[in-house]
Amino acid sequence: MSVLVYTESLKGKFKKNTFEVASYAHKVAQNLGTTVTAVSFNAEDDASLGTYGVSKVLKVSDDSLATFNAKAYASVLEQAAKAEDAKVIILSSSADSKFLAPILTAKLAAGYVPNVVAAPESTSPFVVKRTAFSNKGFAMTEISADIKIIGVSNNAFGVVENNVSAAVEDFSPSLGDDAFTTKSVEVDRVAGKVTIADADIVVSGGRGLKGPENWGMIEELADVLGAATACSKPVSDMGWRPHSEHVGQTGKPVASNLYIAIGISGAIQHLAGINASKVKVVINNDPEAPFFKAADYGIVGDAFEVVPELIEKLKEFKAQNA
């Protein structure tokens, strides 16, 4: 009856979102009077999950699962859920989680709710709060199926330490050839860059920057802050920046702690996409730009003067606080 967690790792190391989903699962398990069991895939430091409230780790070590495969991973989780008689399964809002969750949902005839922003409102009936209308609203959604699958929104619940001792057990799922009918041919990850999904801080540029050649200062600012870079829709449509950086309603949602918008006017679609970010800063030379109504802090000014100045001030700040 434990609460099951899908843990994500890259080259053996757990990703940050794993600690957040484990923290969330611990909260749910407390409410239900049970414990948390995590499933790990070729991870190194399984016992570290105990820090976030995981009592048991089902450790899968299998070379055929070295690269993420949604169907195969979903099959492993299905088998783990059955072995544990899990009624609640927690995963993240990563691309991988959103790929495998619907497959797992169908296999277990479960009820799946993604983009959940808080611990369950109640567990009987089971009601969770999630974003809807691309962050323009929230829904209270009841899951009435016997098995519930919850996708936790990034940075919504946070990482909470609940030290318990995690018992690590080997888990050997049975996987036939039919689990591998989609094959990964090539994975192309931008090395050494913070991704928008994992970032605590996102620095984003818009049309006000006038051209792709002016992105140097955006990248430098991001570099100083350890931030990911992003852009508005027109910027990606014009090919100044790759689609993968487009944030907004039809691009990526951003749920960072700090979002800095430079030369972005703040179209309703863009504001929807970044609404889940906690603190928003806008730098724009037009005081009438709609973004000023959505931001916490703002500077009315020329980005080409303000941003280099901001980079300098941040470097000084970092030097003092190093």
Binding site: I103, A106, M140, H246
Partner: protein, 248 residues
């Protein structure tokens, strides 16, 4: 090749969102409905397969009669036939089960859906559909080539992309990248006239489970006024972000 494009009828991206009936319903008053953008990228890619590889393209939606203008638009863009399952799409699992019936009876090789609808954002329909029918599935798909029964798909991952090799029958959850924004088509008069003559078949829903129910909606809390920092005093912003907002 027979392609089915799944279309969701959603509020235009510029819509202001309000709720009604004691915050239990989305307020459609004054809202313009459109083809879900993620689905429109897929539809446009399907048109490419029709023109370059001779594919037949059908479109389907699950929704009431009020969704017909949206599906007629898909016909005007160039889809050959449309199907409307006459039911309210209140739950993703429910919708996937309805679509599974359509896919089975139409014997489709490729099903193109959007990675999520921009209204309820469930993001589960293509994956559940694929699994119910034991078809292959690629989500957040930003590139798709078909050669005979072989499919090469590119999917967006966090911080990059992955190329996947698989085979038909296949379901994809598509998004921008399948085609570019500039490839999207606006129906012309000839397309609109032809669409009137194309079949729009209405089928009744099958019995299906509905494991989730939205009970209540709310809007984000109103935001306080922005705190402005003078452009000549950028250091103050650093100060505020550190001491007040505590984010750096």
């Amino acid at each position: 090749m027979k392609i089915l494009v799944c279309i969701s009828n959603v509020p235009d991206t510029t819509s202001k969102i309000n709720f009604t009936e004691g915050d239990t319903q989305f307020d459609t008053n004054g809202v313009q409905f459109v083809i879900n953008p993620n689905d429109e990228f897929g539809l446009t890619r399907a048109m490419w397969f029709k023109e370059k590889q001779g594919a037949t393209v059908h479109v389907v939606t699950v929704g009431g009669q009020q969704t017909e203008p949206t599906i007629r638009k898909a016909l005007a863009i160039g889809a050959d036939e449309a199907i409307r399952v006459n039911a309210e799409p209140t739950d993703g699992f429910f919708v996937a089960q309805q679509l599974a019936e359509v896919v089975k009876s139409g014997d489709y090789d490729l099903v193109i859906a959007g990675r999520e609808s921009i209204d309820y954002n469930g993001g589960m329909v293509p994956g559940i559909l694929a699994t119910l029918l034991d078809m292959n599935f690629v989500n957040t798909c930003i590139g798709l080539e078909i050669d005979g029964d072989t499919a090469t798909a590119v999917r967006e991952i966090d911080g990059g992309k992955e190329t996947i090799s698989t085979s038909l029958p296949l379901v994809i959850g598509g998004q921008k990248g399948l085609v570019e924004e500039s490839d999207l088509r606006i129906p012309n008069m000839r397309g609109i006239m032809m669409a009137r003559k194309k079949a729009l078949n209405v089928v009744e829903p099958v019995d299906a489970v509905q494991p989730t129910q939205d009970q209540k909606f709310e809007k984000p809390a109103a935001k306080g006024p922005v705190k402005l920092v003078d452009a000549g005093n950028v250091g103050e912003l650093v100060e505020l972000l550190h001491n007040e907002a505590k984010v750096i």
